[in-house]
Symmetry: C2
Subunit: 309 residues, 2 copies
């Protein structure tokens, strides 16, 4: 059993899309990552995070039912859970943030449980780079793979700390605009080269509905997003992608480029479910048969047979 | 030898990109299509088009050297060649048209040469839909495949004629925004379904730097654009893609979905060269060794190995 430790937000989201709106529902990067990773059954996964005591027991029960270890999901008495609210534009490619209430997240000091200090894979969801760094420092055995997600907010507000933590990770996941901002290069190929030099051996650039790129030295792999009849709610798609990615790697314990390619495909595949319903709804009731069925679609979408002698 | 007839513009282009600008150089849809198709040596290809007598002999010689039959490339005495001029924005994803001088194109009545009236593949480059229709009517034997390219201009100005010609073709190539305009559907999956119902069995949606989709009934295939260090000039990339697509089909004479997938890959591969230099420059000096080398890159970029039992 590969061990995966996931550090990130567990939150309430309120979402508005052209198709409807929700009250506060279950959200947060670590939640999506955990639910996606739980599709891989031969792993031990733990979420390290914090919520307030307004966080419903049914959400905790859901995570437990997915065999996610939440013993390090701290519940702050009298505290309120991190809350994010956003509204998507008509094309679903952009959104406005309506509210961000940090609440208990403001004082979050992640504590890696003792039995995960030798985890094979560490997934650092989008958080302050110093918080991400403190997790790396708690590991007692060098993990096979440390994956870090971040966003433009930290480039604007904590660039030095971000560049510091980036030196200590193996994979960065970042979207195309953020890769351009971080490197001042428009070409993603050039941007990835520059990010390699900052530390990460592997660079994953997420392009939303346009797929994801994996860079490693001279090698590039690309996986599209599965074309869907309807994208209902993109919230959590990037984290679901990351969860599929790290879940597969934790299960296979293989960090070759070829295996990371497969991990990208699994991540893309799971993300295609996430966007079909609001929030975590689709991931909560996802069975392995439909996941496999869609992987087959993924192969048909991308695989061809040209012989080169 | 498969026979391919290409109908479209042969033109002068003047291009400005963030990297430089050109005087009048060789351009036109049929030119790019022809040069790309000429990478397939077991075909007979003819260009049906019109130029003025200001069109330089060296450009004609270039087409002849690529074994393209230009006996139906009409040269109008005293006429001026179609001229287009455009300036690309910094991200190269959008451009302003600075000048469009139809000149001899205004009175263009394509005449398919007798020995191409039984062509296997007909490629109708972007032209007035009635002009495209007149080509179909001249065919004496039903072609294996008729491919049509069009653009939003005809949707705005000749929609009825466009819908008419679309009923008689097998493959439409169209970009994402145009597919949305034609169908009033944002989802490309839904847009393709609607376009199927208008006539074409195969729908190719071009997404520029984000690749191309091929739809056929329930089947979807996707090919990315090869990520490049630098895109220098996107002019002609869509036509180069189409030229690779029809050239491969004319050579293989196989219109199965699997073979059309391969054709999409060949088209995408050739388009990746086109954008590396101004206009046709890169295509003019492209040898089969570098084409094959890049096909190998294409496989590495997209192919993975997940077994599904």
């Amino acid at each position: 059993m590969g061990k995966l430790v996931i550090v990130g937000t567990v939150a309430f989201d309120a979402i508005e899309t052209p198709f409807g709106k929700t009250d506060k529902i279950l959200g947060g990067a670590a939640t999506f990552i955990g639910l996606a990773a739980s599709q891989f059954h031969n792993i031990d996964a733990a979420i390290v995070s914090v919520v307030g005591d307004d966080f419903p027991q049914e959400y905790l029960d859901l995570l437990i039912s997915k065999k996610i270890d939440i013993s390090s999901l701290e519940i702050v008495k009298g505290g309120k859970t991190f809350f994010w609210s956003g509204k998507y534009h008509n094309d679903l490619n952009s959104r406005d943030t309506l509210a961000t209430e940090l609440n208990v997240l403001a004082d979050f000091n992640p504590t890696v449980p003792d039995n995960y200090k030798d985890a094979d894979v560490v997934m650092l969801g989008n958080l302050h780079p110093s918080t991400q760094m403190s997790v790396i420092e708690q590991m007692e055995k060098k993990p096979k793979l440390i994956v870090l997600d971040t966003m433009n907010y930290w480039m604007d507000n904590a660039l030095e700390e971000l560049l510091q933590v980036i030196q200590h990770i193996d994979v960065i996941t970042i979207n195309d605009e953020e890769a351009r901002q971080l490197t001042n290069e428009y070409s993603l190929v050039k941007a990835a080269e520059k990010i390699h030099k900052m530390g990460p051996k592997f660079v994953v650039i997420k392009k939303g509905e346009h797929g994801a790129l994996l860079f490693h030295d001279e090698n590039i792999f690309f996986a599209p997003a599965l074309p869907l009849e309807e994208v209902f709610d993109p919230t959590g798609a990037g984290d679901t992608f990351a969860g599929g990615f790290v879940g597969y790697i934790a299960e296979t314990k293989n960090i070759s480029f070829n295996n990371l390619k497969n991990a990208i495909v699994h991540g893309s595949n799971l993300a295609s479910f996430c966007v079909e319903k609001f929030g975590t709804e689709r991931l909560e009731n996802l069975d392995s048969k439909e996941v496999k069925q869609r992987l087959l679609q993924f192969k048909q979408l991308t695989q061809f047979d040209i012989e080169l002698e």
